[in-house]
């Protein structure tokens, strides 16, 4: 009885793996685009020392970059509700004032719209962070470029990975069950 239960579980595991892989292969893909946003201030400081750099634009950019990188940027509520939901944007540390955003959208037009909205969100976040800084010294965000369109494979890849793991588990358990029969002995060898 036990043997049949274990065999059945292995077969079920393998079949579900195959099913998940087939689902993954039929998955519809969306698009991914990498966008760049330039952040600059009215008065650019060229630092002559590390201390000066940390106090100046470079230091502020590095700190804000870390904040953006850790928390990501969610599109604000003013965005089109139909665009909400899937877009979390990763931002790199902008030592040269350049932010990199990964935008996931259903198509290229939507990606462009998201990029435009993202620039506004970044500008809004900067304004909040720099509320105490005089306006002439405040950092500003402006769009630079949106990279080439690439397909988004996240869902497809996740299913392929999960399916492969399930089948590998089933195969390994089959091999072990066939080749390795451990005799009942005491737990002792020390």
């Amino acid at each position: 009885m036990k043997k049949w239960i274990s065999r059945g579980s292995i077969i079920l595991l393998g079949l579900s793996g195959v099913l998940v892989i087939l689902q993954g292969l039929q998955e519809e893909t969306s698009v991914v685009q990498v966008g760049h946003i330039q952040i600059e201030s009215a008065s650019t400081i060229s630092p002559s020392s590390v201390e000066q750099a940390l106090a100046g634009d470079g230091g502020r950019l590095a700190r804000y970059g870390r904040i953006f990188t850790l928390s990501g940027i969610q599109l604000g509520s003013q965005a089109d509700p139909s665009l909400m939901g899937r877009q979390t944007i990763a931002v790199s540390a902008p030592t040269e004032g350049l932010l990199e955003l990964v935008i996931v959208a259903q198509n290229e037009a939507m990606a462009r719209e998201l990029f435009r909205l993202s620039v506004g969100t970044v500008q809004e976040r900067l304004s909040q962070l720099e509320s105490n800084v005089p306006e002439s010294l405040q950092l500003r965000a402006s769009a630079v470029e949106l990279g080439p369109v690439r397909e988004d494979y996240s869902s497809r890849n996740a299913r392929l990975l999960a399916g492969t793991l399930l089948i590998a588990f089933a195969a390994a358990m089959t091999i072990v069950m066939r080749s390795h029969v451990s005799p009942r002995r005491d737990w002792s060898d020390s």
Binding site: T69, L101, Y153, S154, M173, V176
Partner: protein, 401 residues
């Protein structure tokens, strides 16, 4: 043979450059040949494998930096170290691990405390994930990952039923456990600490299961999963010293790889994914590093070896873990438990099919599955028994008796 953990770490430095890989490769291959019994070398397959290993090492040295052969050679070198480790009984090796880890931990902690920073290879720093240390918020800076692995394995061995099954508490046990545990925590490797806890939970659950205590075994595993889940969610939501939210910059890289790379049956080749296309640099957007890696072994395997590679790797690992954990030899169960810990650690680092000390341990433990069960005294029957020639001789002599 000693246990060369402390030096294995340096192998990764030779991954893509210089002649040291030639010297190390020749030494490892030579040592392996010396260690193998003559009778084993008489078998054509073994001889061919050894010869092929040396040839691959030579090819890897002649290959340019970043080339596929260079990577294959470095992996083979680490595999040879794993094979060397498997040449003796697991029990003996584990005892060596405990003694060596105690020694290295004492040296590390002592030098960190007593010597000036510039005179020692370890030092007390800051930003520990636990905040526990000799000094507040301290850690051992510069401890190689190989040493951390040594401490981790030692803690697993000392806290498993193999060592303290019939003992309650001994000073020697405590004195050996304390330095390794402290050094492990201070080495600031969160995934290794999680791996150690995983390994211990699995080993103790396996022991309970073997004794027929199904409920106890389930309780151990469920409590472990609950605690691990709560800690993981806490780490992600609040962040410990900046590690949370993005797992020290790993999550954005994983997210980018999953969404922008089309996984296929075959990968780019050993160590080649990041080098085959300059635009792959975009996958680092939002991450902390740009270092030819995703910092996740499973993704690395898929990118370099494809889904077929992942299938083979996972199949071999699952089979190895099952064989070891269901073994009647307790040292093998400890090996199986530690392998589970390494599998957890592989999710945040370059471990599998990479020239790292952890992969040497993988190879070592995989080879342990092919050894015959141990005698009641615990020492495994010498590996030579697996040799058909010796086996036949032994059978003949038994018949005569």
């Amino acid at each position: 043979m000693g246990f060369p953990f402390a030096f294995i770490e340096r192998l990764s430095d030779f991954q893509f450059g210089g002649e040291p890989i030639a010297l190390a490769g020749a030494l490892a291959a030579g040592l392996l040949l010396v260690r193998l019994r003559r009778s084993m070398l008489r078998i054509k397959v073994n001889f061919a494998a050894a010869a092929l290993g040396i040839l691959l090492l030579v090819a890897s040295v002649l290959a340019p930096s970043g080339h596929v052969w260079r990577h294959v050679g470095a992996i083979l070198l680490v595999s040879l170290v794993g094979a060397l480790l498997a040449q003796s009984d697991l029990v003996v090796r584990l005892r060596e691990v405990v003694w060596l880890a105690t020694g290295f931990a004492l040296i590390s902690l002592g030098s960190a405390l007593l010597l000036p920073r510039e005179l020692t290879f370890v030092a007390l720093g800051s930003e520990s994930f636990t905040g526990v240390g000799i000094v507040p918020d301290g850690k051992l800076v510069g401890v190689a990952h190989g040493l951390s692995l040594l401490f981790a394995l030692s803690v697993v061995v000392l806290c498993s039923p193999y060592e303290c099954r019939e003992k309650t508490f001994t000073w020697r046990w405590a004195l050996m456990l304390a330095p390794s545990s402290l050094a492990l925590v201070l080495s600031n490797s969160l995934s290794l600490v999680v791996g150690v806890v995983t390994a211990l939970a699995i080993i103790w659950a396996a022991l309970s299961l073997r004794k027929g205590r199904l409920v106890e075994s389930m309780l151990i595993l469920i409590s472990f999963l609950l605690v691990a889940g709560v800690l993981f969610l806490t780490t992600l939501s609040s962040g410990i010293s900046g590690r949370g939210e993005s797992l020290t910059g790993r999550l954005p890289i994983w997210r980018n790889v999953l969404s922008q790379v089309k996984f296929g049956l075959m990968g780019a080749g050993p160590g080649q994914f990041w080098r085959m296309n300059g635009s792959n640099e975009n996958l680092y957007v939002g991450g902390t590093w740009r270092s030819y890696s995703t910092h996740n072994s499973w993704l690395n395997v898929v990118l370099d070896y494809g889904l077929v590679g992942l299938f083979v790797v996972v199949g071999v690992l699952v089979a190895t873990v099952l064989v070891l954990l269901t073994s009647t030899v307790s040292s093998k169960v400890i090996g199986g438990g530690f392998l589970c810990g390494l599998i957890v650690g592989a999710s945040t680092g370059d471990v599998i099919l990479e020239p790292t000390p952890a992969f040497a341990i993988f190879v070592w433990l995989i080879l342990e599955t092919h050894k015959p069960p141990g005698s009641p005294s615990g020492d495994c029957v010498p590996w030579v028994i697996a040799d058909p020639i010796e086996g036949r001789r032994r059978k003949r002599s038994e018949k005569v008796d």
